[in-house]
């Protein structure tokens, strides 16, 4: 008993530096940012508290409100699009096609690129005077119009395109690995019953891939909140505010506009919304783990 306690004491000491670092660096800076959001700090931190004034200004700011709406549209379509396209690609490769490894590389390749490169490529392709529209017109279809990137109502979807193009490969690899783990017998059994292939994927394979898809969905969602580089490279938030996102709003206010208080308020709202989205999940997981522990 005593030996055990001593050992755990040693372990505690060994972990102490990490704990201190985690508390100081992560929690400490977070508290510091929240504190700043209640001050009137401009370029340098100040200690002049103004209550919720920065939050009031934030939610009166039409650019911020637009950015929240945009990140919601982008997030849902990006995660959904990546999962759907990734699954379809994985299913296609799972059919034991020729040159599978080559296709796998090609589909995964965009994921190896930085969002800046992705954003620039799509900016050029979608630019009506340079890219797809100009090419098709040069081929003879003079009336062809594809100007979504300069259209306020459609620009956000062009960012979704670029995001899905980049992210689908990741889902594909994870889903493909999951599919390969599913036993051959299930396939044989289903084929004896004469179930069409698409139905097998939808009703038998897909439910078993739940954890794999949930993991990739989580990875992608974390990317959504911090979406910044893709927007900056592809649209710069424009036209107008039509592709503005919270992370870009915060960065702009932090540096260019020298408005630490407002930027911290934005960051705090962002953290709170993530906590609100993640907390129920964690809670449910913890509950389930607790119940399983009790059964054992």
């Amino acid at each position: 008993m005593r030996a055990k306690r001593r050992r755990s004491l040693a372990a505690t000491f060994a972990l102490l530096p990490t704990w201190i670092a985690a508390i100081l660096v992560y929690i400490g800076t977070m508290i510091w940012s929240v504190r700043l959001s209640f001050t009137d700090s401009t370029i340098f931190p100040s200690s002049n508290y103004v209550g919720f004034a920065q939050y009031a200004r934030l939610f009166k700011n039409s650019r911020w409100l637009a950015s929240l709406e945009n990140v919601l549209i982008f997030g849902v379509l990006y995660v959904g699009g990546c999962l759907a396209l990734g699954f379809v690609l994985a299913a296609a490769l799972d059919r034991k096609v020729r040159f599978e490894s080559m296709f796998r590389t090609i589909f995964l390749y965009p994921y190896a690129m930085s969002f800046v490169v992705t954003g620039l490529i799509w900016q050029w392709m979608l630019n009506p005077t340079l890219g797809i529209q100009a090419t098709v017109r040069a081929l003879g279809w003079q009336g062809f119009v594809f100007d979504w990137i300069v259209n306020r109502d459609m620009a956000i979807y062009t960012v979704v395109f670029a995001g899905v193009w980049q992210g689908a490969g990741l889902v594909m690899v994870i889903a493909l690995a999951g599919m390969r783990g599913i036993g051959e017998e299930q396939w044989k059994a289903a084929q004896i019953d004469g179930i069409p292939v698409w139905r097998i994927y939808l009703s038998i394979i897909l439910p078993q891939l739940g954890p794999a898809l949930a993991a990739s969905g989580m990875l992608l969602s974390m990317g959504v909140i911090k979406t910044y580089d893709l927007i900056v490279a592809q649209t710069g938030g424009g036209p107008g505010y039509s592709t503005e996102v919270p992370a870009k709003f915060i960065m702009d206010n932090l540096f260019e506009r020298q408005n630490l208080g407002l930027a911290s308020a934005g960051a705090t709202v962002l953290v709170l919304s993530v906590v609100m989205a993640v907390a129920p999940f964690r809670y449910a997981l913890a509950m389930r783990a607790g119940r399983m522990g009790a059964h054992r």
């Binding site: 424009g238 107008g240 505010y241 702009d252 206010n253």
Partner: protein, 410 residues
């Protein structure tokens, strides 16, 4: 290693020979700017060469993009590792740095160089905080310019510079009819708000302009001026190509240089791009003030000097402050960058007709300050947002938008 030593010895000898005051510690300066386009880099090189000629060691830390350079600078400043000098636009943005005691005053150098006598008083006031000079100005820029391609004008049958907005729009129609892109537009919000300002000056006049931006006046007259400005701005949408969104200013200038587009609204730094492309003013391209403009919107650049412990860098700061204000350097710098020398006592014979006109307007006091000089960075940002939102939304009504304009001061 041997070579480095040799260089150091030679450098030290040079420094000792040319600047006996700084004999012990060789002048060294890491200079951070956002001057990265062809003409800007060439202009910066003028200062660099003179700096090196006088025995300094120059380290370039330029970062493309004004905002990106500012962000990097602030990070390094707060981290206690600032560069020796940073390009700074004259105006309110520097007041916080001075207030926090992060910048080094260069009053002794300014006194020795008699800056108070050779600079316009308004500029000298702008570089002075709490009675001490902090900034070493490099040049002033006029921002009310319209550059046009003589070739494109000739092809479209436009004779001479349009005198008012009606004639101007008639010329744009002619350009359009001739199959030339009428306006080379840089679809970034800072460029759009510069166009907004130059139109506002033509509609509100100098007093009206200052009333709106300095007194934040919201009288009927001010609202009307803004409405008229937005009407003209809105009308311009029809003359801009689809690919304009996000276009850099120098890419837009290139469209005029190659004759693909007729005109560009831009500050006179665009002239630097024409010069860098080997074009000749008056023959290949022309410059005119925005139609009916009573004067010119201006902005001015300078170097600021963060407090730094290293003695060599301190000497470098002193040397750079001197070099940037040297009359010959000011002229050579302006020729490359397209700006106007900020000293009034320089040799004007080498300046082109636009720069001379700019200098004349400055001398006559027919200038109004750019938003960097009179608005806080936050308000200037809100102005950019406002103009960009209006520009990208053709269904927006000018009168309704004009009411929203005054919210930028909140």
């Amino acid at each position: 290693m041997k070579n480095t030593m040799k260089l150091l010895v030679v450098g030290a000898a040079l420094a000792a020979a040319s600047a006996p005051a700084h004999a012990e510690d060789k002048a060294k300066a890491e200079v951070m700017t956002s001057w990265t386009s062809g003409s800007e880099a060439a202009a910066l090189d003028v200062i660099k060469r003179e700096f090196e000629k006088r025995g300094g060691v120059w380290k370039d830390s330029s970062i493309a993009g004004f905002g990106a350079a500012d962000a990097a600078f602030q990070n390094r400043l707060v981290a206690g590792d600032p560069p020796a000098a940073k390009q700074a636009v004259l105006g309110l943005a520097n007041a916080d740095f001075v207030g926090q005691g992060l910048l080094r005053p260069i009053d002794d150098i300014a006194k020795a160089g008699k800056w108070a006598e050779v600079l316009p008083k308004s500029i000298h006031d702008l570089i002075t905080y709490n009675g001490q000079v902090y900034l070493s100005p490099t040049g002033a820029h006029g921002e009310s310019w319209v550059f046009y391609s003589k070739d494109a004008f000739a092809k479209a049958g436009v004779n001479g510079e349009p005198k008012n907005w009606d004639e101007f729009f008639a010329s744009l129609d002619k350009l359009k009819a001739a199959g030339i892109q009428p306006v080379a537009w840089g679809g970034q919000s800072w460029q759009e708000s510069k166009v907004f300002n130059m139109i506002l000056l033509t509609q509100a006049g100098m007093d009206g302009f200052l009333k709106i931006y300095v007194d934040k006046d919201k009288s009927d007259a001010s609202v009307k001026s803004v409405t008229k400005t937005l009407n003209i701005l809105g009308k311009l949408r029809a003359y801009v190509d689809e690919g304009a969104a996000g276009r850099n200013w120098n890419d837009a200038t290139a469209m005029v240089i190659t004759g693909k587009a007729g005109v560009q609204f831009m500050g006179d730094w665009a002239k630097g791009e024409f010069v860098a492309a080997g074009k000749e003013l008056g023959k290949d391209y022309g410059c005119m003030l925005a139609p009916q403009s009573p004067g010119m919107v201006y902005v001015a650049d300078s170097f600021s000097f963060p407090k730094i412990a290293d003695a060599a860098s301190q000497n470098g700061q002193a040397l750079l402050a001197e070099v940037a204000m040297d009359p010959a350097v000011q002229v050579a710098f302006s020729l490359k960058k397209g700006s106007v020398p900020i000293r009034t006592d320089v040799d004007k014979s080498k300046l082109d007709i636009c720069a001379r006109k700019g200098l004349e307007l400055m001398g006559a006091g027919r200038i109004v300050p750019d938003q960097a000089l009179i608005l806080s960075p936050q308000q200037a940002g809100a102005l950019n947002d406002f103009v960009d939102e209006f520009w990208s939304n053709p269904s927006e009504n000018s009168a309704a938008a004009a009411e929203k304009f005054f919210a930028i001061f909140e």
